[in-house]
């Protein structure tokens, strides 16, 4: 391109800064969306992988009552075992000065030589310090939430004994990335939940585990690592060897709670990262194509002149590609900056949820290359189409203005429809003809409104689904005020009597939880098994009753039932249905393996639950009516007195207030989900705004003479804009209405994609989701029409009319 043409390009770009700006805007939105969504996904995935790797997350955890230390050496020689490490994990409570509620605390033993698996990363950086007696590191969220500092003192209550400890600092551990209190809600509550890392020897003494471990962490040998079947066999073998020491749980890494939560979030991110930005970018690409094509086609006379002067077609095409290039480069640059900023913002949400060292927003050149390439590619394609139609003509033809638009009647003017057509005012005839004569552009306008509405409805519906999930699981299925877990199961009758007399207690209900392994026993299929918690329900459960979620199960539940009600997901995982037989391997009490059968399915949304009468469970465990989970309704005025009384009892493992859990979940959701939904809604709205504005500007540029004529006839800019808005209004209304359906369908798809063992989102689309999306679309559409109005107002229509035909 010679200097003159380059100058021409720069000045043309400057002259059309308004419309090119609108185009670069939509490009920016599409690219920022893609970069931030994929960026967050990559960042989170890579941070997790590198943390697990560097800090040696174990391949499996086996919890036992107590196993002698020397068993580690013996089991390490088993085939398939790479390395084993023993440890101690205890449940206790911590008192933080100035904070009234007890902090549910898991105490984790750290050997003098340091941990082999699940190593610790100090918040302050550097190496972990060797712990002396009464020294501890605290989990990072708890440490930060309570604004603790090295040297601060805490009181830890373990088996009724109180010990004062000194904090060394905050740490992150690959094992404790997502810290939930047992019996707590869905969201971490770092004010009331903590993990403290203390000297192993001290915990062994405090937990009456001298020369013993109660957890074994290990890694499979390199030959079998990653081969699920073999891994399972090895894990079964170790569990069998440990049987005499009371195995309560044996989980592969994929079933660790933290791993599952993080994985489910990463999977969700991947789904949303691939669906939404892709849809947006398609719209952006098509809009770029239409607008640039039109822009260049409008320069037909100049193209003809340049050809007449002897410029070859390729150098003219090259010159005009500058338009596409400018928009593409600007869009890619701004989109990258906005995308990275947004990526960092979204990452900070994940940092507040996960105790994971999440790197600063990563810069992924391949991502930027792909998105820039896409936007550039489509911008250039549009240019090539537009300029191609002009350069293919002979210069003589190109210099003549294009022949008048094809007249002809559109579909609506023919056949019986013509009688209706006659009734339309002229402005609507203009609108309808414009729509039908530019089918591709009409489709783009329609498509962008459709995509934006679809994304909005789906995002808002996901928000509603989480609300519904919380409501079902924590309001419908649970009615108690407090849940108290006991360290050991005790006689239910005496516990009920005892708790009834505690201050402020209105009613008591005794349940029983017990770990077990369930195996599907359906003939002919491969046996699937899962380690689950059996929920033994009180005989007439008024407080917690998950069976309430499926009325049929609730009605049929009977204290004498000899069988299990399974959550639908658990039944699916085990490959069983109502009436099928199950094998139940108890992980406490008698540790027997018994046969049972599926009595019914329950539509729960969280975890894999199995429910049966507490009385039956007691019998299976070889006990008579015992309890380890007490539900209370209480006089909230007397909360403090009750807490004080409960804290005094060494048998109490954990106290959870339902209102606290609910409040914590709802606050977290409001903050995190709220932010994400706002981002998505604003993005979709901007996308629709940009697309509508751009296509309307194209329409305007094609019909400048119409505008001029109408203005000559005395139409105000407002009334002229109103006519043009008719086109946008009609196409967008259709797009929005179809978008409702699209949103419902996408919600269904995402709900299916999110169906994991820890979460099942209910398929919910509320009227308010649709209403709100529609309102947002209306706001953005009005905004785009206001901008369009400014363009109409500023159009030099006298000049337009002077241009020769």
């Amino acid at each position: 391109m010679n200097r003159q043409l380059f100058k021409k390009l720069l000045r043309d770009l400057w002259l059309r800064k308004g419309s090119l700006g609108a185009l670069a805007f939509i490009c920016t939105i599409g690219i920022a969306f893609l970069i931030s969504s994929y960026g967050v996904y990559f960042d989170l995935r890579d941070s997790r992988d590198s943390f697990y790797d560097t800090y040696a997350l174990a391949d499996f955890h086996i919890l036992v009552k107590a196993a002698p230390e020397n068993i580690v050496q013996r089991l390490s020689t088993l085939p398939g075992v790479g390395r084993l490490e023993g440890g101690v994990q205890l449940e206790g409570r911590t008192e933080v000065q100035g904070f009234a509620d007890p902090v549910q605390t898991t105490l984790v033993g750290v050997p003098r030589k340091g941990k082999v698996f699940n190593r610790l990363l100090p918040l302050s950086g550097g190496e972990i310090q060797q712990l002396e007696t009464d020294q501890a590191y605290a989990s990072s969220a708890f440490y930060q939430e309570h604004k603790l500092q090295a040297g601060d003192e805490l009181s830890v209550i373990l088996l009724g004994q109180k010990e004062d400890i000194t904090l060394i600092g905050g740490v992150q551990s690959p094992e404790w990335v997502y810290v939930l209190a047992p019996g707590g809600g869905l969201a971490p509550d770092p004010l009331r939940t903590a993990v403290l890392f203390m000297p192993l020897r001290q915990l062994q003494e405090a937990g009456e585990l001298e020369n013993s471990y109660n957890i074994l962490m290990g890694r499979f040998s390199e030959e079998i690592r990653g081969r699920k079947e073999l891994e399972k066999q090895v894990l079964d073998r170790i569990s069998a060897e440990l049987h005499p020491y009371g195995v309560t749980s044996a989980l592969p890494r994929s079933q660790f709670l933290s791993v599952q939560f993080l994985e489910s979030d990463i999977v969700g991110l991947k789904v949303s990262a691939s669906v939404m930005p892709t849809l947006c970018l398609i719209i952006v690409a098509v809009v770029l194509n239409v607008v640039i094509g039109r822009l260049v086609a409008g320069q037909r006379t100049v193209v003809g002149t340049l050809k007449a002067l002897g410029y070859p077609s390729f150098s003219i095409t090259f010159h005009y590609l500058g338009f596409g290039l400018a928009v593409g480069v600007l869009g890619a640059a701004l989109g990258t900056v906005l995308g990275l900023w947004l990526q960092e913002g979204l990452l900070s949400i994940y940092r507040s949820v996960y105790e994971l060292p999440i790197n600063a927003a990563g810069f992924y050149p391949e991502l930027i290359a792909i998105s820039a390439g896409l936007s550039l590619g489509f911008a250039l394609l549009g240019t090539a189409f537009g300029v191609g139609s002009a350069t293919r003509l002979s210069p003589a033809t190109a210099m003549r203005p294009p022949p008048p638009e094809k007249g002809g009647r559109i579909l609506l003017e023919r056949g019986p429809a013509k009688y209706l057509w006659e009734l339309l005012p002229f402005s609507w005839k203009l609108v309808l003809r414009a729509i039908f004569r530019n089918p591709f552009r009409s489709l783009v306008t329609f498509g962008s409104a459709f995509v934006a509405t679809t994304i909005m409805v789906e995002s808002l519906a996901t928000g509603s689904a989480i609300g519904v999930l919380i409501d079902k699981e924590f309001r419908q299925a649970q009615k108690q005020d407090v849940t108290v877990l006991l360290r050991e199961a005790r006689n239910a009758v005496s516990v009920a009597r005892e708790f009834q007399s505690l201050p402020g207690v209105w009613s008591v209900e005794c349940h029983l939880n017990s770990p077990a392994v369930l195996r599907g026993a359906r003939a002919g299929t491969r046996v699937q098994e899962r380690e689950v918690l059996l929920f033994g329900l009180a005989s007439d459960p008024k407080l917690e009753n998950p069976l309430r979620l499926s009325p049929w199960a609730e009605e049929n539940f009977d204290d004498s039932d000899d069988g299990l009600y399974l959550s639908r997901k658990l039944a699916e995982v085990l490959g069983v249905d109502v009436g099928d037989r199950l094998e139940v391997e108890l992980r406490s009490g008698t540790r027997r393996t018994v046969e049972s059968r599926v009595l019914g399915l329950v539509d729960t949304s969280l975890g894999l639950g199995a429910y049966l009468p507490a009385r039956q469970l007691s019998l299976m465990l070889g006990e008579s009516a015992v309890t380890n989970k007490i539900l209370l309704t209480v006089d909230l005025q007397k909360r403090d007195a009750l807490v004080e009384e409960l804290q005094r009892r060494p048998e109490v493992l954990n106290i959870t207030w339902r209102s606290d859990s609910l409040q914590q979940m709802e606050t977290t959701l409001q903050q995190n989900l709220g932010t994400m939904l706002t981002v998505i809604v604003v993005f979709s709205g901007c996308l629709a705004f940009g697309a509508v504005l751009n296509t309307a500007l194209v329409s305007l540029s094609e019909r400048e003479r119409e505008v001029g004529t109408l203005r000559v006839l005395g139409y105000t800019p407002f009334s002229v804009t109103a006519i043009f808005s008719g086109e946008s209004l009609l196409l967008n209304s259709l797009g929005v209405i179809f978008g409702w359906g699209g949103g419902i369908a996408l919600t269904y798809f995402v709900t299916r994609a999110y169906d994991t063992e820890i979460f099942r989102f209910p398929f919910v689309v509320e009227a308010s989701n649709i209403l709100y999306s529609t309102l947002v679309m209306i706001v953005f559409l009005i905004a785009s029409q206001v901008v369009l109005g400014l363009f109409v107002k500023n159009l030099n229509w006298l000049e337009v009319l002077k241009i020769r035909e």
């Binding site: 003159q4 021409k8 002149t305 007449a308 002897g310 410029y311 003589a396």
Partner: protein
């Protein structure tokens, strides 16, 4: 019903001498512009021959009717300067830059560069004005400077005064006469304006795509008189 074939030019035989100023008259639709486009290598005839004979030894005769697009592009770039009724200046370039758009392509040595060709047309002091800052006559003079600057053999002018008032039109005609006489350019000019015919060496009239006649000197004089009054 098939499409109607419109013959813009039909059986035209025309020979133009080097250094001649040929004026083409005719009503609208008579085929004047098509004739000019065919001569300038901007369109190809469906049949017949269009031959351009460059100066001695410069190049062999060029058969425009069967030349490839690239050859036509080179032909226009080297031998032809166009002046259009609507000037066809690029609105976002200054007068000088508009001229440079043509000179940038041409390595044929000539008497002018971009700046001096603007001086020839009397716009040496307006070189940095944009087309929108120039009057119609001035814009047309820039177009003439653009046509001159690349030192073409032929100037093809399509109603160069058609969009100008008579006084400005007169100035443009004088300029074209000067270019023709002083620099020996072959000029083929289409006009509607009977007044312009007086500067022509030869005047032909087109009717329904055919050369209907060549006007005699008397007829030219009479036409000019009519126009003048």
């Amino acid at each position: 019903m098939g499409e109607l074939e419109v013959r813009a030019l039909d059986q035209v035989t025309l020979e133009v001498q080097r250094g001649e100023l040929l004026m083409v008259l005719g009503q609208s639709g008579s085929g004047k512009s098509t004739l000019l486009n065919v001569i300038g290598g901007m369109d190809r005839p469906t049949s017949g021959e269009v031959i351009y004979y460059p100066k001695k030894d410069e190049a062999p005769p060029l058969h425009l009717e069967k030349a490839k697009d690239s050859a036509l592009t080179r032909f226009r770039r080297t031998y032809v300067g166009f002046v259009f009724q609507f000037f066809n200046l690029i609105p976002t370039l200054t007068a000088l830059e508009n001229v440079q758009v043509a000179t940038a392509l041409n390595d044929r040595p000539g008497p002018f560069n971009a700046k001096s060709s603007l001086e020839v047309v009397g716009l040496g002091d307006r070189w940095d004005h944009f087309p929108s800052q120039l009057s119609g006559g001035q814009q047309q003079r820039v177009a003439i400077a653009r046509a001159l600057a690349s030192n073409p053999d032929i100037l093809l002018c399509d109603e160069p005064t058609g969009n100008l008032d008579s006084e400005t039109g007169e100035q443009v005609l004088k300029l074209l006469t000067r270019v023709h006489k002083e620099y020996g350019k072959t000029v083929i000019m289409i006009t509607h304006n009977p007044e312009s015919v007086r500067i022509a060496d030869r005047v032909i009239e087109l009717k329904d795509g055919k050369v209907s006649r060549t006007l005699t000197e008397d007829e030219v004089h009479q036409l000019w008189q009519e126009g003048h009054h």
